[in-house]
Symmetry: C2
Subunit: 455 residues, 2 copies
């Protein structure tokens, strides 16, 4: 029996203890948004540092931020040619509300058949424990094969307000070859999933100003340009009937999807029914020439997120508004540049704005998309590990949204992220009776063992 | 000296007393919006009934409504072939705020050179007194030449909430040949003005519904139609680049402007500068083929008055809204029908709405335009009277807004209104230091004397 098999055996022999440890961890109500749980946040951080020290980590620290601390740890004694993996996780959880809908308490972990029911079981204390127990299993039978660093934050559920500056301030400490982010989950219990790309976001606010003040439409309706009508014309012109964005140069830097990617996408169960069910829409629409999954995850979009002008209360007011505003966001794909997209929007507005009007363009977000080549050794190591355990090739997926930490790691540390995880869409994360499918979770531990050996 | 000349002489000999009576009336703070002035409202109504009784009126009544009473009076002893004129007025005034900006108290009438400064001096106690003193002057020298009825409301400054039902309930009492409405004023002190047309209003609220609830744009951006984008497309398509409304059949019933009207409009000082100054816009726009004045008063329009969708607070929220709303109003001209316009809007939306969307169309207002033929004997009687006094032909003007009472009188009583008055744009109505130009006012009394004799 080689070391890898011995490690797997160790994991199988210790599965009940592993679960007990996860139950211990989920018992602590580390709700980051609730100031009353500040002590619980610290208790969770301490639980993790104890565990990391048991795993032989060095330089284990609870590092303060403006709000909740980051847990850092490292083990850097692998052979020189071995890579350094930065393992990301968050130890905070969502609030338990609505409390009444939990079958037992959110922080009273309960086994129900094949499931562990507890807040954080799936998102993502279960994922952190899976990594830690994979490491323990390997250490139990020999030397750990790669270098590892941990960055476990306590603010993910409140939007990671201090994470970017933390990474920036600890750039050298966090230096790595790539990042493992086990927060992205699986599409279905039988489909191991690798997320290798995330869309970026350019979120702009367009403000159109007409005459100085609001006017009475009876007195002046017919001789002044109306900023609300003008705003509607501008927005209407931003997309064509094929749902292509018409801003100048919008697609210039879009990296075409490779044949390999498009072929992998066809294996995903993200068909029309999936999106119909997920959106509650009576009918879907989208950019000509692309599949549903490509439209939602791998193609750029443009959507109005907010619209305001004039009088919006009950009834009527015959006002000619002097001002109109739209929040318009574009999901970006590699290699679109948020600043270039802002410029393109400004150019479009300038070309089309009547000269009686003035505009302002506010940037609320400008994050590029991120992508990891699925042919790198790190992704291949993970893919092979997942296939070994599940007996099926993992699917490769892009996500339609952004995960800020992935962008920060790319930008600040120049580290690509490989995203995976063993949570399921049916786990009720952020909802009552959050749970973890334990058979999937145990397979996850096994596959992480393979992953570390594969690197 | 014929009776007419004698009446004019009487008016000139009694001008100081006439002014004193106006000062008495403006001393009463008949602010309709302020519940504390309820007794003052009644005091004003009583002041007027006393005066009407002095003028020999019969059936003088203070008739209650849900809020402030209507003063009614009649004198119907003219020869059988003579018309019955329904004289409209309102005895309520705007609040005095901002109090500090008045040179003396709003209800402490002050003579400043050629002006009477007081709340209501111009709008419109001065106009009511002008009519009453013209009547007194005629009665002082002989029999009154026509039948008259008075309807003096106390709620004009709060939107006349009870006037329509009052007119409907007193339809027979208010029966008349036409209505004189001296609430519309003059363009300039040397330009006597007749208003013979008012635009109508179709005020609609368009609600567009997409998928059931708001969605996260990261998860689903790219596969669902966005109701805010769709609403903008709909609104953008409602007008073309010549500022013509493109709703189906929108112009079908528009009565063309006669050569006479267009020729009269050229005498109005309503040029580009007038509207630039009035609107504070840096540039004007409007429907191709029409003058500024025609665009603002005699052509139909379409304007967005309110626009709402999604997130409109500070910063950003990456929401795909499930709902978008626009308040869209159209100023109508004769003979457009508000209900047909609503149907046209519904048809337009149905033709252009993506089939993943649902819509609602709410009617907030639907009032037809009103117009009085400028060649009727009543308008000619007024025009001739004004020309006699001012030595210049009056201008004929349409107003861009609606005056609900004019519409109600037309609809319920089948009575056209002739609008005039002796207030000026510079009178600061609804503002501090409202005032009345007394030389214009005295000319107004003279011209009303001529008007009654001309009928």
């Amino acid at each position: 029996m080689d070391q890898r098999e011995q490690a797997i055996t160790f994991a199988h022999q210790n599965k009940d203890r592993f679960l007990k440890e996860l139950i211990d961890l989920t018992r602590i109500p580390s709700v980051s948004t609730n100031p009353e749980n500040a002590a619980d946040m610290m208790k969770t951080a301490e639980w993790l540092t104890d565990e990391l020290r048991k795993r032989g980590c060095k330089n284990v620290q609870i590092m303060p931020t403006a709000k909740h601390p980051v847990v850092y740890a490292e083990w850097l004694n692998a052979r020189a040619e071995k890579p350094t993996v930065l393992i990301y996780g968050h130890y905070d959880v969502q609030p338990e509300d609505p409390v009444d809908l939990w079958r037992s308490g959110a922080f009273e972990p309960t086994i129900e058949g094949n499931y562990l029911v507890a807040r954080g079981a799936s998102d993502m204390k279960g994922q952190i424990i899976a990594v830690l127990k994979a490491i323990e299993s390997i250490q139990a039978v020999g030397e750990f094969p790669v270098n590892i660093k941990f960055i476990l934050e306590g603010e993910e559920e409140i939007g990671s307000p201090n994470l970017e500056s933390f990474i920036r301030q600890n750039k050298d400490l966090l230096k790595c070859d790539f990042a493992l982010n086990p927060d992205s989950g699986m599409i279905a219990p039988e489909i191991p999933t690798i997320v290798y790309g995330l869309r970026g976001l350019a979120y702009l606010e367009i403000r159109i100003f007409g005459q100085k003040g609001d006017l009475h439409s009876g007195l002046y309706g017919g001789v002044v340009e109306n900023p609300a009508n003008v705003l509607c014309q501008l927005i209407a012109g931003m997309k064509d009937s094929d749902h292509k964005v018409t801003l100048p140069g919008f697609y210039d830097r879009v990296r075409p999807l490779s044949e390999q990617e498009r072929s992998e996408f066809t294996r995903l169960p993200l068909d029309e029914n999936f999106y119909l069910k997920g959106t509650g829409a009576s009918k879907l629409v989208g950019e000509k020439g692309y599949s549903w999954c490509e439209r939602a995850t791998a193609r750029p979009t443009l959507d109005v997120n907010g619209l305001y002008s004039g009088y919006i209360g009950e009834g009527s007011k015959t006002v000619l508004p002097s001002y109109a505003m739209a929040k318009v966001s574009m999901r970006l794909v590699p290699d679109q540049d948020p600043e270039e997209i802002r410029q393109s929007m400004a150019k479009y507005i300038e070309m089309n704005l009547p000269d009686s009007m003035r505009y302002e363009l506010i940037v609320h977000a400008g994050n590029p998309a991120s992508i990891t080549d699925i042919n790198t050794p790190y992704v291949k190591a993970l893919a092979s590990a997942l296939e070994t355990v599940w007996g099926t090739r993992p699917v490769y997926k892009r996500e339609g949204g952004s995960i800020p930490v992935v962008g920060h790691m790319k930008e600040i540390l120049d580290a690509s992220s490989v995203l995976t995880g063993f949570g399921l869409p049916s786990d009720n994360i952020h909802a009552p009776n959050e749970h973890l499918d334990l058979s999937v979770w145990y397979k996850g531990i096994d596959s992480l063992i393979h992953f570390f050996y594969n690197l």
